[in-house]
């Protein structure tokens, strides 16, 4: 029994390490795909890691007049995302977190990181920080119901909001994933993930124009190691949410035991799945334009409707 627990804990640690080490690489890959498609050479996949190393060596500076909210936010962002990475059955459903990895808890932890960063943006007292925080909260308030409804739709066939149970049910019964309810919920979740990670139709992650910023406007005042943590946190969020999407939509390959070989294979498969998703997202972003901020509620109302249709259709389109 203790052997199983140790193996499970090892699998959990492997997940967290994979997310922390892989997240900057994922961002680098997405930037590289984008650069190549725009006809640029690109900085290479490892550039985000080099940026992080450079930032970590710098001296920490906090603007005068900022309080604890500003100082705590980067660490809180990274910590909540790391906990989410540990909770999710990214590599194995037999980790010690099984039975505690409630999807609602995962959503709440991610929201905690968002709120911490928004408070930090307000704490700086600058105009852009407050504007970014207000926009981020607007988007978050619209995304949250969508995610919860999509979660509800996904948890109905499994009969539990526990992530491991949902993934195990998906592994056992792959037909569920191709039902209208599953497809609609996945689509709604994908839109919510785009909004939550500040990707293109909602927010432009590479913008240099303060008036169009959402996420970037909140973190304008960060420098040095704090900025490194904020960037790492944002990259980890992207990796974790894409991982969540891949885990829920295509759970194949996730280990149901904690055997080291199966876990290693599952992590390799996860990396492939997330890399494919990220590359597809980056390729799509080349063709998309940012939505006007006033159109964003329309998009999110659409994704809310998709999630609601997923829930209702799981009642009236139950198949056999």
């Amino acid at each position: 029994m203790t052997g199983h627990t140790t193996a499970g804990a090892a699998a959990m640690c492997a997940q967290v390490v994979a997310v922390v080490a892989g997240a900057p690489l994922l961002t680098g890959l997405m930037r590289q795909v984008r650069a190549r498609m725009e006809g640029r050479a690109g900085a290479g996949v490892r550039q985000p890691w080099r940026d992080l190393r450079k930032l970590l060596r710098k001296e920490p500076i906090t603007p005068t007049g900022t309080g604890p909210a500003f100082r705590v936010a980067p660490a809180l962002l990274v910590a909540t995302t790391a906990v989410v990475a540990a909770l999710m059955p990214l590599a194995s459903t037999a980790t010690p977190a099984t039975g505690r990895s409630d999807l609602i808890l995962v959503v709440a932890l991610l929201a905690l990181g968002t709120v911490a960063l928004a408070l930090a943006g307000l704490d700086t007292g600058t105009a852009f920080g407050g504007m970014g925080a207000s926009r981020e909260m607007t988007v978050a308030a619209l995304v949250e119901p969508t995610i919860l409804l999509a979660v509800f739709a996904l948890s109905l066939p499994a009969g539990s909001t526990d992530l491991a149970a949902i993934v195990s049910a998906g592994l056992r019964d792959a037909d569920r994933l191709a039902s209208p309810s599953g497809l609609l919920a996945t689509a709604a979740l994908a839109l919510a993930v785009l909004a939550e990670t500040g990707r293109l139709p909602v927010d432009n992650p590479t913008t240099h124009l303060e008036l169009t910023m959402v996420h970037e406007a909140m973190v304008l005042e960060y420098a040095g190691p704090d900025l490194a943590l904020v960037e790492l946190g944002a990259q980890m969020r992207l990796a974790v949410l894409l991982g969540l999407l891949a885990t829920l939509a295509a759970p194949w390959g996730i280990a149901t035991t904690a055997a080291p070989l199966a876990v290693a294979l599952a992590i390799a498969l996860l990396a492939v799945k997330v890399a494919v998703l990220g590359a597809a997202l980056a390729a799509a972003e080349v063709c998309w334009a940012k939505l006007r901020l006033f159109r964003v509620p329309e998009l999110l109302a659409g994704s809310l409707l998709l999630a609601l249709l997923a829930v209702t259709s799981s009642y009236f389109l139950t198949g056999a």
Binding site: S181, A301, L304, L309, S313, G319
Partner: protein, 261 residues
């Protein structure tokens, strides 16, 4: 098991059918709305083809092919033709009050591009004809209304489904929801072509309800309804062109009163 696979395919097609109606509500470009409607026609043909035809299997398949040709091919083609005729048609009569109103309406929503200069008026008007710029209920609210309408359809259909629960009848709320969404499009959209799409959504919903509840109506009734719809679209297409010639736009707000011009 082939039975469950069949039911799953039917579910998928029904989901696509409902989704197409929602997408019509979501989009603004009239050309994209027509495309979504064509996809819905394909889904409707799929529903007809996938039904468990207890005695008249071939008849149902023939009906499915006919529906596919009419609703995914002919009607979208007619609407697209009306759309291009309206968008690039002859300029309206000079000094027309309706043309001025629709031009200024488009100018306010199309932003600086529409008001660039002397030629801006023409450009802005084209944009206003190709898009549903200002529906009576904005898009976010209409999406939420569609959610409520779907729930309503589910609630209304429950006693009907309880009579004889099979996979087809269980999907009955899909047909009712599309009927309600079609009504909603008909009520809230301002462009004449968007209203035509709303009317056709309503008809698609009625047809789907008939298929799901009773494996379709007799062939002769189906034929009659199809010709009726075709005729209605033809007449509406001509009417749109006439509206454009008389008022310079197809915004139905210009049709407040009957008058002899």
């Amino acid at each position: 098991m082939p039975g469950t696979l069949h039911a799953q395919l039917l579910d998928l097609v029904c989901g696509a059918f409902l989704l197409a109606a929602v997408v019509v509500l979501w989009l603004r470009q009239l050309a994209s709305i027509v495309r979504a409607f064509a996809l819905q026609g394909v889904a409707l043909a799929g529903i007809a083809a996938l039904l468990d035809g207890h005695d008249s299997r071939w008849e149902l398949l023939a009906v499915a092919v006919g529906i596919g040709l009419l609703r995914a091919g002919l009607l979208p083609l007619l609407m697209r033709r009306a759309l291009t005729a309206v968008a690039t048609g002859p300029a309206p009569l000079a000094g027309d009050a309706g043309g001025g109103a629709s031009g200024s309406e488009a100018g306010s929503t199309a932003g600086s591009g529409g008001r660039a200069g002397g030629t801006g008026h023409h450009y802005a008007e084209d944009v206003s004809e190709a898009r549903e710029t200002q529906p009576l209920v904005n898009v976010a609210a209409s999406l939420l209304s569609a959610a409520l309408l779907t729930l309503l359809a589910y609630a209304v259909a429950r006693p009907l489904v309880a009579l004889h629960p099979t996979p087809a009848t269980r999907a009955l709320p899909v047909g009712l929801a599309v009927v309600l969404i079609g009504f909603f499009v008909l009520v809230t959209r301002r462009r004449a072509l968007a209203q035509v799409v709303g009317f056709l959504l309503l008809d698609n919903g009625i047809t789907a309800t008939a298929f799901l509840a009773a494996s379709g109506v007799p062939l002769i009734v189906e034929l009659g309804v199809s010709f009726d719809v075709l005729l209605a679209v033809l007449v509406l297409g001509i009417l749109t062109t006439r509206m454009r010639a008389a008022f310079g736009g197809t915004g139905i707000d210009d049709l407040r009163e009957l008058c002899d011009r």
